[in-house]
């Protein structure tokens, strides 16, 4: 099959407008004849569910948490970009488009990114109308701040809890439709398979996590808004429950997976403190405005933050300032992360594990006073002290990079439809818009753009061609999928091996982090592939899942998710192996400039890698969607 991205003709700035006019419409009275399933209730899912229900469609939503409000979008801190140009500082839709496509290291579609920038302005209007309490100036108008990768102030924010406020806005809009009877919300319910009838997505199979009941739901279209797959690394900044199961099961049913190896590693997280560690906590990127990153010039084993204060200036290496005099500590995320890894690899890392670098505020406090620093970062400093026990006003923070976002995801066309007709992917779950690296404050923008302003238009075009008739869940396609799901759970419970699910997950994560993390090379990736295969084999023979399938069983939930992560991990490694260039978050050691910076290869790799599933233990087949750049000139990023 050939990939058709369905990018409309015409000049960049007119594509979306023209496309909207050409899309077929569903008459208002007929919308109530169509059922739509939305899986996941984060920013993309909640905004899509509410908007589609408002239009008149019948919507069912599903989330594994106990309430739609708890989806992991809630943890986003920094803000949301929009090309409002309220600051009169030269922002425009075109500039937001340009920054985003350049930030993504030229591995995203021009048309998608332009549309994202175009609808960004509507998102802010919508959220304010819903009562989202964005930060404001004394005159009562909205406040903005600047973020990495941009020279204008276009980021809207609600303290350090922007994701929470935007999600609660979308959740409230959903609640209104639940009350109106247009949305039926299923909580503590996990999607375990998608069901195809005559080649089209016509429903899903779910498990009620409280009773264990396996159920079938039919619809005219299915939307996957299930987030990213950072938890393949075990340790990440994602919520513990975040998983790839819905997207992966869809992939097994025919949805191509786009650019799986594009993962983003955030430089400022609190380092791992021991084997018990269950997740990593992000410290906002904004800290790098005032904090100076350093390690000792010569290795000092187990150097603590308390002893660091006594190390004289002459024995410190402020390595970012040294290597990147122009940008200093404010280089983009991928560059900052990689350099932290290099100094730790040299044995100059600090802390008990040697896997940390200092982020020091001593100079900033001396310059601006403790009060100023407190007003800027007070809550972050408190959080840091709570977790580590160290006081960052007195000793330097210790930080280390951690995985926190995945740019890859299900391949979708311009209408957000996957390669399975009637199956859509929105938000982080799809691959579009961020290319090989996402800029700060762009994830919230994309999730809400997809849900509020894109899917309500594009889904009509598909549904207009669908018959009103519902398919019965008694059909063999549903029965068969239910049986497969049930058997998989039964199998997991029947192994009764010796290792816990977490032990397998940790091992998988370690392999991915070591060989498919911040920097990758052919030898390591091949080693990882073999390790993952062995681990997967062992998993299916030696995992121990206690309890039964007919009750709340969190071990079983985890085991099922980890079994999918293991399959995905291999695909990520394959993708990283085949992309013999460095771009954005994907750094291949073989493709570097003389001074160790990432080197793209636009002649051979300016395409989206879309992988097709071919069956258990079969190699996946690569399809390429060429990326055409008609409006921007491809340049090498430099921050020296």
């Amino acid at each position: 099959m050939t990939l058709d991205s369905k990018i409309p003709d015409g000049p960049l700035a007119e594509k979306w407008t023209r496309h909207k006019f050409n899309l077929k419409l569903v008459n208002p009275a007929n919308k109530r004849k169509y059922d739509i399933i939305v899986v996941g209730t984060g920013l993309a899912g909640a905004s899509a569910a509410a908007s589609l229900a408002e239009l008149g469609y019948n919507v069912k939503t599903f989330c594994f948490q106990d309430s739609p409000r708890r989806a992991h979008s809630i943890a986003a801190q920094g803000g949301i970009n929009a090309a409002k140009n309220y600051q009169n500082d030269g922002d425009s839709i075109y500039r937001l488009f340009y920054d985003t496509i350049k930030g993504g290291d030229y591995r995203a579609r021009e048309a998608n990114v332009y549309r994202l920038a175009e609808v960004s302005v509507n998102i802010i209007d919508q959220c304010v109308a819903q009562g989202v309490p964005f930060a404001r100036e004394y005159g009562g108008l909205l406040a903005n701040r600047s973020f990495g990768g941009a020279q204008v102030s276009r980021t809207f924010y609600a303290r350090g809890q922007t994701g929470q406020q935007l999600l609660l806005g979308a959740y409230a809009a959903m609640n209104r439709q639940i009350a109106a009877g247009k949305i039926k919300s299923y909580t503590r319910t996990e999607m375990l398979d998608v069901v195809l009838v005559d080649g089209k997505a016509r429903g899903i199979i779910t498990r009620d996590l409280v009773t264990g009941k396996i159920e079938a739901h039919s619809a005219h279209a299915v939307l996957l808004c299930t987030g990213g797959y950072s938890n393949v690394f075990y340790l990440s900044t994602n919520a513990k429950g975040s998983n790839v199961t819905a997207a992966w099961r869809a992939h097994r049913k025919g949805a191509f997976f786009g650019n799986p190896c594009f993962t983003q590693i955030h430089p400022t997280c609190i380092p791992v403190s021991g084997n018990h560690q269950s997740k990593l906590t992000l410290m906002s990127e904004s800290l790098r405005n005032d904090g100076r990153v350093w390690v000792p010039k010569k290795p000092i084993k187990g150097l603590t933050a308390r002893d660091a204060v006594n190390i004289p200036e002459s024995e410190r290496d402020y390595f970012l300032e040294r290597r990147y005099p122009a940008f200093g500590n404010l280089v983009p995320r991928d560059v900052a992360s990689r350099n932290a890894k290099y100094v730790c690899d040299e044995g100059r890392g600090v802390g008990p594990t040697g896997l940390a670098v200092f982020l020091d505020f001593a100079d900033a406090i001396k310059r601006d006073g403790k009060k100023t620093i407190e007003s800027k970062y007070g809550n972050l400093f408190d959080m840091y002290q709570q977790i580590t026990g160290d006081n960052p006003y007195e000793v330097p923070m210790m930080i280390y990079p951690a995985v926190h976002y995945t740019m890859g995801g299900l391949w979708v066309d311009y209408n957000l439809m996957t390669t399975v007709p009637g199956l859509y992917a929105l938000g982080e779950a799809n691959f579009s818009d961020h290319g090989a690296n996402r800029l700060g404050a762009s994830a919230l923008m994309q999730g809400l753009a997809d849900g509020y302003f894109i899917i309500p238009y594009t889904i009509g075009d598909y549904l207009a061609g669908m018959p009103y008739e519902k398919v019965s869940t008694d059909r063999p396609e549903f029965k068969e999928a239910m049986e497969q799901v049930t058997n998989r759970l039964k199998k997991l419970l029947s192994i009764k091996g010796k290792k816990t699910v977490d032990e397998f997950h940790r091992e998988l994560g370690m392999t991915m982090w070591d060989y498919c993390g911040m920097s990758r090379n052919e030898e390591g990736l091949k080693k990882a592939k073999k390790k993952i295969q062995e681990l997967r084999e062992e998993f299916w023979q030696n995992v121990n899942v206690v309890g039964s399938a007919n009750e709340l069983n969190m071990e079983l939930e985890k085991a099922n998710r980890v079994s999918d992560f293991m399959e995905l991990a291999e695909l990520m490694v394959d993708d990283a192996l085949h992309r013999k260039e460095s771009c954005g978050g994907h750094f291949r050691e073989e493709s570097a400039t003389e001074d160790g910076e990432a080197k793209r290869n636009d002649n051979e790799f300016a395409y989206v890698a879309a992988w097709e599933y071919k069956g258990e233990n079969q190699p996946e087949v690569l399809h390429k969607e060429e990326l055409k750049f008609e409006n921007v000139k491809l340049t090498q990023r430099s921050y020296k």
Partner: protein, 256 residues
């Protein structure tokens, strides 16, 4: 560190539960409270026993999923969420009692997991502004004084964890409901529906079986986001104003 844990175990919603005692010898002061339970669970699984079920997700103090009534206080000794509580807040050799939220509207599902769907139903009864996607005016059309926006944000930080209910001797949900009523009553966008909103949300709160507020302020003391009882005062004012002048729901106002 070595700890003795007295933990509430309950197989299911309709099964009688009991405290079980566990001696935990592998606790590090750097562990979070939930990581301490993770380690205990691994030990239980290795012994073939069922792990202790508890709710958790983001482990960053924002999703509101984690709960736990620790030594008689929701989320334990600090004013934070359980996931942000670390074992250095406890002493070596200490005995810690861990219970689920205790409130009739929050029935136990299993062990330490409770059903908080009553909170969702209260939000569905009116915790929103009725605007459809697409019709919004420009975001800067209505200036909102910074003080008002900040106060609305103070209320909006509620994470819906239910600590306020668990802390209250009456199992009252006033702080939770007030946080939303107050946020939307403060903002001009919320004004057109303010009367109906407060009436419906209070009626739903009562219907769910939450108790009355007797101003003990335990909720404010335990709220991990430090939401002030001043919002309850605002909700009461909204409610009485609505009762005197609204044409909506006359028979339900005042509770049933």
């Amino acid at each position: 560190m070595k700890l003795t844990l007295k933990i509430w175990r309950q197989k299911g919603p309709h099964v009688k539960g009991e405290f079980k005692t566990y001696v935990h010898e592998h606790v590090s002061p750097d562990m979070s409270f939930l990581e301490m339970l993770d380690v205990l669970n691994t030990e239980l699984i290795k012994k073939g026993e069922e792990p202790i079920h508890f709710d958790h997700d983001c482990r960053e103090g924002i999703c509101g999923m984690c709960s736990l009534y620790i030594n008689g206080r929701p989320h334990g000794p600090l004013q934070t969420t359980t996931c942000q509580l670390h074992m250095r807040s406890f002493k070596d050799g200490e005995t810690i009692t861990i219970e689920p939220w205790r409130a009739k509207p929050f029935p136990v599902i299993k062990d330490l997991v409770v059903d908080r769907s009553a909170f969702d139903r209260i939000q569905q009864s009116g915790g929103y502004i009725s605007v459809n996607t697409g019709g919004a005016p420009d975001a800067n059309e209505i200036p909102i004084p910074k003080k008002i926006a900040d106060e609305a944000m103070d209320a909006a930080t509620c994470i819906g964890c239910g600590a306020c209910v668990a802390a209250c001797k009456n199992a009252s949900a006033m702080l939770f409901v007030a946080a939303k009523v107050s946020q939307l009553a403060l903002l001009p966008q919320g004004h057109p529906e303010r009367k109906e909103r407060v009436e419906r949300m209070v009626a739903q709160m009562d219907a769910e079986g939450f108790g009355a507020c007797t101003n003990t302020r335990a909720c404010e003391a335990e709220c991990p986001k430090g939401i002030s009882v001043a919002h309850i005062a605002r909700m009461n004012r909204e409610y009485y104003t609505a009762m005197l002048s609204s044409y909506e729901l006359p028979s339900k106002a005042g509770g049933e």
